[in-house]
């Protein structure tokens, strides 16, 4: 395993990414490096984490020997977990990246309902940001690009009517502008 020494440079920065709703229920939780071996431990941890953080507007706390940066938005709580000797700013940049990219993808409607409707996007974004604890990318723009496919890529037959009309409008607009 990776040594937990602050001096040993390691790419395994992130111990977990968690998204909870405002009742403390898990929407998405990814734990890396076996920080918690059982699901029960994970849920217990989330519970205490939620109790500690749900009132705050967003900050950083220490819990169970983990540095946790978190952000509170409408009815959602975003957490990024790291070891205590980890660079807090790095964790924060990951959190910011996660939040910003979700915000872009969900068109600024970062709330539970919209998030659940686009759970696939969220999963992909988390996957793009972090791979088994290694930060893959911290630029929200790049993440959004990688996750969100251009609409034109979707075959016409599988698009909804409104999508087609929207696309048509765009094309007309561009042709007029030219």
């Amino acid at each position: 395993m990776v040594l937990e020494n602050s001096f040993v440079p390691s790419l395994y920065v992130i111990k977990g990414i968690v998204i909870l709703d405002n009742d403390g229920n898990r929407i998405l939780a990814k734990y890396y490096n076996q920080s918690f071996s059982t699901v029960k431990e994970q849920k217990d941890f989330e519970k205490s984490l939620f109790n500690k953080t749900h009132k705050g507007a967003g900050d950083v706390i220490l819990l169970d020997n983990l540095t946790i940066v978190y952000r509170n938005n409408v009815d959602l709580l975003f957490y990024v977990l790291g070891s205590t000797n980890e660079n807090e700013l790095m964790l924060n940049s990951v959190l910011t990246c996660l939040f910003e990219s979700l915000s872009t993808m969900l068109r600024k409607n970062v709330e539970k309902k919209v998030l659940c409707e686009n759970l696939d996007l969220i999963m992909l974004a988390v996957d793009e940001i972090c791979d088994e604890g290694i930060i893959l990318e911290s630029d929200p723009m790049l993440i959004t690009q990688r996750v969100q496919l251009r609409l034109d890529d979707i075959p016409l037959g599988e698009q909804t009517v409104s999508q087609v009309i929207h696309q048509a409008k765009e094309q007309i607009k561009w042709s007029l502008l030219k």
Binding site: F7, L62, N87
Partner: protein, 972 residues
């Protein structure tokens, strides 16, 4: 395909209703593939797994197989979701090889966006066979993914990855920051053992401005520490250069790395510290947090781990620190002043940090300790933001307190200049420093809880510090007479008037802001949010813990220093208890309370005999015995406490124990509430004599003189309770002195012990001793001992025994003596015969007060009821005395009895009063007198004010009542 495994009871349909309505398998098998539906299903599957549900192995494998079909779809979104599902399920399903082959096909394909993710997923399933593709991808357009996959692979098969070194190195040239980041880390992992290469790499990269030096900072630091290099090494230069990087994250990483390096000198440290100090004042909470944590680490290292910070970052930090306050070194700072205090909800944001206090407890103060303290202060000031100009500290061993202050200023060259001072403090920072240090270092009598004298008396500061602000501290405090009693008190070293007005506007709805001092104000919670009992007990426990710790420490000392300690400990506990008692709510039966009391009693038992005033603690324990609401437990505890005092006390404890066991009210009142008020020393003397004389008669307690009532002392106001009350024990009884003298005369021996001696009466001028031998009417002189010789300037004693008459009249005495002249040098009388002379002495009056002893009955009315009206006499008098005060005084003097229940004090403006007197008449009979008096009687002289008095006398002896009544009538 829709078959479910019977062995695995749980299927997707169990988890989600959506799986019941349509078969995922059918959807997967549709042609053409409906990408949207498939994505939905896959999302749901992943969500299930994420929620912690376990998929059956068979089912997972089935889905796996079905998914291979979906690869036919060109839909990118779907493809991505497939990858994700594979990753999630690869641990569950069998035969992942099927999917792997699909993935390999994707990887070798032309579509870039497919290749990356495909690669990423692959390592999770099968690695060795795809080595070839890996290499290719690293040098390709998407090296990041390949690199991280390689890092993962390093864990399993490092030798495989090592073969890719060349490819990895090429990736450095990639424009993407993240690629550089991953690449450097991987490179380091591969070359880890080869330090020389690593060093070469760092030197090489530090020259070409590296865009992502993050990993290298740690690598470099690692090298420095492992090789024991100094700060002159190129590695350090590299880290130092990162302090000037434009990215905050890199700056912080460099700064924190420097701070944690062992070899750094304070000078070199300063640049890193400056950066961190800058971060502390940043608006970003994460930045502040990071900086503070790093600084804390530094404190810990620097002061030998004696400085402790808690991990609980919010608010609680202070409490935790205070918990440790007593035996150890402690540092208080307010790095979390930007956070709202959890306990009070007060916004401390307004208060930037300025004051740091250090307290160290020593067993014995030495000068070098003070030097050490100054050193600490200086170090802390080093790490403080430049806006902090001074720092205070205190050090104590419970006898002395030394204050120290270090001030920082900038000189002409903008260099910091430090001034340390020990004496300056009192004058310069007068108010705050004094009280701040007082709070931390409370003296022996006020240990634990302490009042700030200049503040109103009813404010008591708890030992809970809520925060430190700009030249101010916020404490939790309570109002003693208030209805609700937990508040926050802010003490500042400036006038708070302005602040009060600001807060009044800000918090008008939440708190009432009351200025209680020019430098202090209170936040009052609105009524209904009372936290009293719990809070107090909570604090009591806190202190109790501290004391226990301190006690453990002092046990190991067994020297002078430990003594003050123990006194302080016991005093504190008593203060705590009295505080708890004061709080009416705390009087409820409370398990915590009782256990606390019990443990304190136990401590008393241990510490009491060694304390200055054991009597005080005996008294205290015995109070507990009476008052405690869980009597049995308390009795056990109290008795065990008492038993540890000396023998006398053990006997007493046994007595009380027996009495309490009987649970008889009368017994209790006779022996405990109105304790046996005999003079202990006389009792001892008499008992001694009794045991020597062979006699069968039982010993009569009544023959023992009653203990003199101590003069009421002005109450000492301090809450500390260490002072011995100048008392009864130290004073030798007048009876004892005379008894000693009289028992030396054989003629008086048959008379038995003295009952009472009246105050000396001057018969002539002072310093002349007389003999009384004259016969007076009604008096029968039984015996007199003449005094043989009285030399010039000398004294002699003569005794006269007189039988008491039936009525009282003055005794007239004449002194007869022979004067002889003496030779002034030899002291031998020159004449054989001198001349006889006589001297008429002043009359001695024996009044009723000479027959009675003053006795204080703490519970007068109970005694009054006890005696009952059996021997009661009533009479009404009119006295020509102007005021009630005068009347009371005269009656007390005349009766020679003790006023009980404070009835000698008359409330102002009252027209009537009742006086209660108690005494023991000769023969050991209790006499109680109730005198009811009212203004406005009529006398013979119509102009004069008069008082009407109704006198009721009760006694256990009939004659006593009669004597009293009779004498009263005469003296009307």
């Amino acid at each position: 395909m829709n078959t479910t495994d019977k062995n695995n009871a749980r299927t997707l349909a169990d988890y989600h209703p959506a799986f019941k309505n349509f078969s995922w398998a059918r959807t997967f098998n549709e042609t053409p593939i409906n990408a949207r539906k498939c994505i939905q299903i896959l999302t749901k599957i992943i969500y299930m797994i994420n929620q912690g549900e376990q998929l059956g192995q068979t089912e997972a494998t089935e889905i796996f197989f079905a998914m291979t079909k979906l690869f036919q779809s060109k839909d990118m979104m779907l493809r991505r979701m497939i990858y994700l599902s594979i990753k999630e399920m690869s641990t569950v399903a069998n035969d992942v090889i099927i999917v792997t082959s699909s993935l390999t096909r994707d990887m070798t394909g032309k579509e870039d966006s497919h290749r990356g993710p495909a690669m990423q997923k692959l390592y999770a399933s099968m690695m060795q066979s795809v080595e070839r593709y890996m290499k290719q991808t690293i040098v390709d357009k998407l090296p990041s993914v390949a690199l991280t996959s390689s890092v993962h692979l390093m864990r399993q098969s490092p030798e495989v990855v090592k073969r890719w070194v060349n490819e990895v190195q090429e990736a450095v040239n990639n424009d993407n920051i993240m690629v550089q980041y991953h690449e450097l880390a991987l490179l380091y992992q591969i070359r880890r053992t080869d330090k020389h290469t690593i060093r070469k790499l760092i030197v090489k990269f530090s020259k070409t401005a590296l865009r992502s030096p993050y990993t290298f900072i740690r690598i470099a630091a690692n090298l420095i520490n492992e090789e024991g290099e100094g700060t002159d090494s190129p590695m350090y230069d590299f880290i130092d250069s990162c302090l000037r990087h434009k990215n905050e994250m890199i700056i912080y990483e460099a700064a924190s790395t420097i701070v944690s390096l062992k070899c750094v000198t304070p000078k070199e440290l300063s640049s890193a510290l400056n950066v961190l100090q800058l971060f502390i004042s940043s608006p970003k909470p994460v930045l502040r947090y990071a900086a503070v944590r790093t600084l804390n680490k530094r404190y810990d290292q620097h002061i030998d781990n004696r400085l402790k910070y808690t991990d609980g970052f919010k608010g609680i930090i202070f409490k935790a620190l205070f918990d440790r306050l007593m035996p150890d070194f402690c540092l208080v700072d307010n790095y979390n002043s930007h956070v709202k205090s959890l306990s009070s909800g007060l916004d401390l944001e307004f208060l930037p940090l300025h004051i740091v206090s250090v307290l160290e407890l020593k067993t014995k103060l030495k000068d070098s300790d003070v030097g050490q303290l100054l050193h600490y202060l200086r170090i802390i000031l080093d790490y403080s933001p430049s806006s902090r100009s001074f720092i205070l500290g205190a050090i104590t061993d419970f006898r002395d307190i030394r204050f120290a202050m270090v001030r920082r200023s900038t000189d002409d060259d903008d260099q910091f200049k430090y001034e340390a001072s020990l004496k300056d403090l009192q004058n310069r920072n007068g108010y705050l420093s004094h009280h701040l240090t007082m709070f931390f270092t409370a003296d022996r009598s006020k240990f634990g809880f302490c009042r700030l004298e200049p503040l109103p008396d009813n404010i008591r500061i708890d030992n809970r510090l809520l925060g430190i602000g700009a030249n101010a501290m916020v404490f939790s405090c309570s109002l003693i007479n208030g209805q609700s009693n937990e508040y926050a008190l802010k003490i500042s070293n400036d006038s708070v008037q302005k602040e009060v007005s600001i807060y009044q506007q800000l918090y008008a709805d939440k708190y009432r802001i009351v200025q209680v001092h020019s430098n202090a104000f209170l936040f009052l919670h609105p009524p209904g949010r009372v936290v009293s009992k719990e809070n107090i007990l909570n604090n009591a426990h806190l202190i109790w813990n501290q004391i226990k710790k301190a006690h453990n420490l002092s046990n190991t000392l067994r020297e002078e220093g430990g003594y003050g300690y123990k006194t302080a400990i016991v005093n504190t506990i008593i203060s705590i208890i009295s505080i708890v008692e004061e709080n009416p709510e705390a009087k409820e039966a409370d398990c915590e309370h009782t256990s606390l009391a019990t443990s304190i009693l136990y401590l008393l038992g241990r510490e009491g005999p060694r304390a200055t005033t054991p009597a005080k603690y005996i008294r205290y324990s015995y109070n507990r015995v009476i008052l405690e609401n869980a009597p049995v437990r308390a009795v056990v505890a109290a008795v065990s406490a008492l038993a540890k005092f000396d023998d006398e006390v053990r006997d007493r404890a046994t007595l009380y124990y027996q009495l309490l066991k009987h649970n008889d009210k009368a017994l209790n009142s006779a022996y405990i509430l109105n304790s046996m008020n005999v003079s202990l020393s006389s009792l001892e003397r008499l008992l001694h004599r009794y045991t020597i004389e062979p006699t069968t008669k039982p010993f009569d307690v009544r023959s023992v003189p009653v203990e003199a009532v101590p003069v009421e002392l002005p109450k000492d106001i301090s809450i500390g309770v260490g002072l011995p009350r100048p008392g009864i024990e130290s004073k030798t009884n007048r009876e004892d002195i005379y008894d000693e003298q009289l028992s030396a005369i054989p003629e008086f021996a048959h008379l038995g012990p003295i009952y009472k001696s009246s105050l000396p009466v001057d018969l002539t001028e002072k310093r002349v001793t007389v003999q009384m031998d004259g016969l007076a009417e009604g008096f029968e002189v039984v015996h007199y001992t003449p005094c043989q010789v009285i030399k010039c300037n000398d004294t002699g004693t003569t005794y006269t025994l007189v039988k008491l008459p039936d009525d009282s009249s003055p005794v007239t005495g004449t002194m007869k003596y022979t004067v002889k002249n003496c030779d002034s040098t030899t002291d031998v009388p020159d004449d054989k015969e001198g001349y006889a002379d006589e001297f008429v002495l002043e009359d001695i009056e024996i009044t009723v007060s000479d027959h009675v002893q003053k006795v204080l009955k703490p519970n007068w009315s109970a005694s009054w009821e006890e005696i009952e009206a059996e021997n009661e006499l009533k009479d009404t008098y009119t006295l020509s005395i102007r005021t009630l005060e005068e009347c009371v005084k005269k009656i007390i003097n005349y009766m020679g009895m003790q006023a009980c229940e404070r009835s000698d004090k008359i409330p102002e403006g009252k027209a009537s009063h009742a006086l209660y007197l108690a005494g023991v008449y000769r023969g050991g009979h209790d006499v109680l007198v109730r005198a009811k008096m009212a203004l406005g009687g009529t006398t013979v002289d119509p102009g004069a004010q008069a008082i009407t008095m109704q006198l009721t006398i009760r006694s256990t002896d009939e004659s006593a009542v009669e004597v009293y009544c009779f004498s009263s009538r005469i003296n009307k």
